[in-house]
Symmetry: D2
Subunit: 351 residues, 4 copies
């Protein structure tokens, strides 16, 4: 029942899809860190919709306003608060949803949890729009991590079953970040086909962190995998998280799975990275690698079976409004941002 | 860097594989709850090794001693502390590991994190033996959940790629809990083959919670999936967690994935359960279902490539000692216990 | 290193004295609670300066802007964010303080903690202005407490050694809340005398909560007194907190101190309330009563001995700028607000 | 509703007065720290009763058994668990208290909170005996602080209104630690007089920490004073906490209260220490000084007015059993221990 995360770094999100504003408070940032806001805005652009066939038509400028925490472009040790105005809202699209919840969307549970007092408009606090301040916080953490020699990046691992090539951490920025361009075009094509049919598709985002020293994190609870998974499942539509070989490791033999150690110019490394950079909950000095599964967008324009919460009868739902036929491209910066926040929190704790 | 978990219910584990004792403190249990210790011990028996081909030879009695928190078989509102003695220890087996870490085991990172001061013997605090007090805490929570109409159970979903049948929550207790006995026997056979070759295998545990009302949990952080994943990744050897259709949902269309709502005698239900009982981080009244991937046991008797941390040179490792060729059967109660702890914590918070 | 407080209810403050804005995020409010913003603003007026001899000349309108969490005047279950603009700022007054810290003010420690990167202007994040969003959060909690039959109020117990009469909880609102008007006038006179001499005075605020059931709170840590004290010491200038008979109890005999129980129409009550409504960290059904000591305002216009952090030499400081000669009258709503936040958090946990 | 404290260092207490055992788990201790158990036991001796006129007759050996966290006398990075057996128990003394609660004791609220399921015997979890594992944890932290150049010590500031001399931090160990021996003898005499009359007396403990660098702690919540007060109010019988000049500062002028800065061989110091070493919640490099007020022991042998919770009628109570006529001498190590735990937690966070 909380919209905050972090041990040393506390990130508190607030706002609803159609509230006056939304934003984030980041408490615990070290003082004296320069923040390049232009680069933050550039990162936010990666999750912006409204520019192509696979995103919604909603296109707000999404410029952050810094209320506190930064003086002369540097953090001052006080909590950083950034807010975004909600200007382009179309609340009337959601009138029907007050009574008839969208299948596999949060409408029904929000109604139950808040006994009908939840903000229905645009999904309220459950809206994907809350990932905007999340990405802001992540973009800030990315800069602080970079200054400490750590990079975090991600690519689209698959959409609708179409796979990208393996990811080595080299930048694949852009609206549709795949290593292999052809694979990317096939994915886009599959999204467009689904969209044309009033349907949606899901996908997998693969993300990694390079440059972490060995010894971060800890055993049992509060380990790196637990904390990353905790953050990642907070992104709307995530249904699975795996590290290194992940679920595939369940079908492997130990002799094949185990990552052999070797000395590389005085440093301990492993020849493979099936462990995804984490052993016993602690970083081992190899890249931390994980994949996050996104379900297909629940809002589709095909008619769906639902119920009317007012009449207590079965009902058919025709969803109006603007929705992405696939949220995976816009989810990539959300995964990066979440990872950056969690990892910077872990870095602040130190070895 | 913490061995505790929970918001309303705090579960603090302590102990090392070969320390004088290990145990758990459970803070926040409601007062006046009867605890049937015989049933707790029966549950602990499910994770006990030493009785068949696929478990280690180590066989301790593992009887909990209740230090506090229970008076006349009932909780008294004070923290419940249960301890276990470590009697059957064979520390000398681990001498070599002080210098040469086992691949894909926590030896190396524990050494780095604690600058050589970690308890090497038996894996120290990183040992699977720490799941004993974890299971104790889970067994207590299971009883309190049952009293509130909630059951939590699990089966072996797959081992070494051999799949069990779908799980409907009917009890599949026993040392090797599969729905389909033939599938179970094939799994045991694959474990025995790997063991005979000095190797190990992994698998997947599927777990569910039945009887939860809609409205538990919350949006964004502290949602049900985040909290369960946080707990589950703390179990040694877990490399992936997925809910409902999980990673498979990434390849599905929305029209196929979305769970249609319908009215069932006044209650809102869904015809399918691809969401695994969780929408927007909140329970929707359907069973909460998830799978947890376990890597193959890292300790294998085949020779492995490693490094010598003292000499700084490459080294070959031959692991001695007793190790399960597959930890999945003993992991089943660990998954149930973790889920019971996290879910009872969420139940205590209420809708 | 945190600007947030609370277990069930998380209150996160942000902003600096002269940043673009400041505000608060309140996470965990129950949904469906009507918030009367006019009454919130009325409460904020109680901490407003600029209207008399004993307050600073700074007079901003201090109208909250609600960014999120309220729909149609009711909480919607999402975090409530309220912000305030900073319009009337006079940063140049503080130039000298960058090098020469004010005695008994936070200037020096903020400089050390943040290695010179702290926001000096107006005291930055350490400014008493941060009590504005604190009072906003408290005013919201007061309304929710009132709806549950709990009232929280306070009076000026003493200023400069001049004592008010005992407090029975009847409202003593107003700019200068004393039970006895004559005592209040003497206090005002002592403040004016000190101000005329370029000096300042301190005082004590006494606060109580009426209507709490017995059984709230808990033993050892997280008890009512610990949590209230934790919150109260976060108000600038607080140097002491005591409950019931407080420090005076140290000089009493048990036979005189102990509060005799008696039955009052089926309810257990005590004849005296030296315990201040708290036994063993838990409410006993009597009013929760405590006093908070405020030191004299550190910013005085008399010349003071200090050091120059740039030159590393002793220096004489002449503080310019506008400062209250006594912050106690404006501290009254801050104490009430803090108590309301902490007590509502405890009420949400329940017995 | 929690028996744990700390951010980086988690200290979890468990046990009841007459449960099988009681103890503490300390999670977050750095690895490789040597712990001198003989000195720990020596510290525990300071809170031991049974040896003189002003303590109870109960005299257990109170030897800690280390279950985990220490290998070869050094911390190993895993949680340290120490337990104590309860051997000398006299449960029957408490039979009457099940129905008739002691005035100003926790009997009544424990009954209400836990709906009659609380452990009545010896005060259960509310017993002063829980300060034994608290002192253990504090004794461990004292050694780690000492290694970092920080000492924490305390003296009896007053008992029954009889004052000791000012405290400069020089060791005043012993059963009855006062700076001035004559004052100490007068205090003992006043305790004996009260005891002879079946009554009890209270007092004040003054404690300080020497050697802390400037810059520890933080603004608003989680500041040094809030955290110390949070810990101190968890000690049974504490009714007030004040820092530096404390409540007396409320009667002082700013010109008299403010601590003038001066340079002392390159270091910034203050000529007086009315601030008790804390400005804006942050250490200023001067000794951190505070006082804690203890009420008289509630258990007195004089007849007292109470109620019978079974019959719902007024009742007269005659308390049997062994009780200290003054808990202040035994409270001194409890204050030191609590301060050591909280301060070491703050030291671990760093500037």
């Amino acid at each position: 029942m909380s919209s905050s995360v972090g041990n040393r770094l506390k990130v508190q999100l607030f706002g609803q899809s159609h509230s006056r504003g939304l934003g984030v408070v980041i408490d615990g940032l070290p003082a004296g860190e320069e923040i390049d806001l232009a680069r933050v805005v550039e990162f936010l652009r990666r999750r912006m919709g409204g520019r192509n066939a696979y995103s919604t038509k909603r296109a707000e400028l999404d410029m952050p306003e810094i209320l506190s925490g930064i003086v002369d472009n540097k953090t001052c040790g006080a909590p950083l608060c950034a807010i975004f105005e909600n200007t382009n809202t179309r609340g009337s699209d959601y009138d029907e949803l007050r009574a008839v919840p969208r299948p596999s969307h949060a409408d029904y549970v929000a109604f139950v949890k808040h006994r009908g007092h939840n903000d229905v408009s645009g999904g309220g606090h459950f809206s994907g729009r809350l990932t905007l301040p999340l990405c802001f916080a992540g973009a800030v953490c990315l800069q602080l991590l970079e200054r400490r020699g750590v990079t975090v990046d991600a690519h689209i691992h698959s959409i609708a079953g179409i796979m990208d090539e393996p990811f080595d951490g080299l930048p694949v920025n852009g609206d549709f970040p795949t290593v292999n361009k052809d694979a990317g075009e096939k994915m886009i094509s599959s999204i467009e086909t689904a969209a044309a049919e009033g349907d949606s598709v899901g996908g997998v985002v693969e993300c990694g962190a390079w440059g972490l020293p060995a010894g971060l994190g800890g055993p049992i609870f509060d380990n790196i995998e637990s904390r990353l998974a905790y953050g990642l499942f907070a992104i709307p539509a995530v249904k699975g998280v795996e590290f290194g070989a992940g679920f595939a490791s369940a079908g492997m033999r130990g002799s094949r799975y185990n990552d052999p150690f070797y000395m590389d110019q005085g440093a301990v490394k492993t020849k493979t990275n099936n462990s995804g950079g984490v052993l016993g909950g602690i970083s081992n000095g190899m890249p931390v690698l994980f994949r996050t599964a996104f379900k297909p967008t629940p809002s589709i324009s095909l008619p769906q079976e639902s119920v009317n919460l007012v009449t207590g009868r079965d009902a058919t739902l025709n969803v109006k409004g603007r929705h992405d036929p696939c949220i995976v491209p816009r989810a990539v910066p959300c995964v990066i941002a979440t990872a950056a926040i969690v990892i910077f929190d872990i870095v602040l704790e130190g070895v």
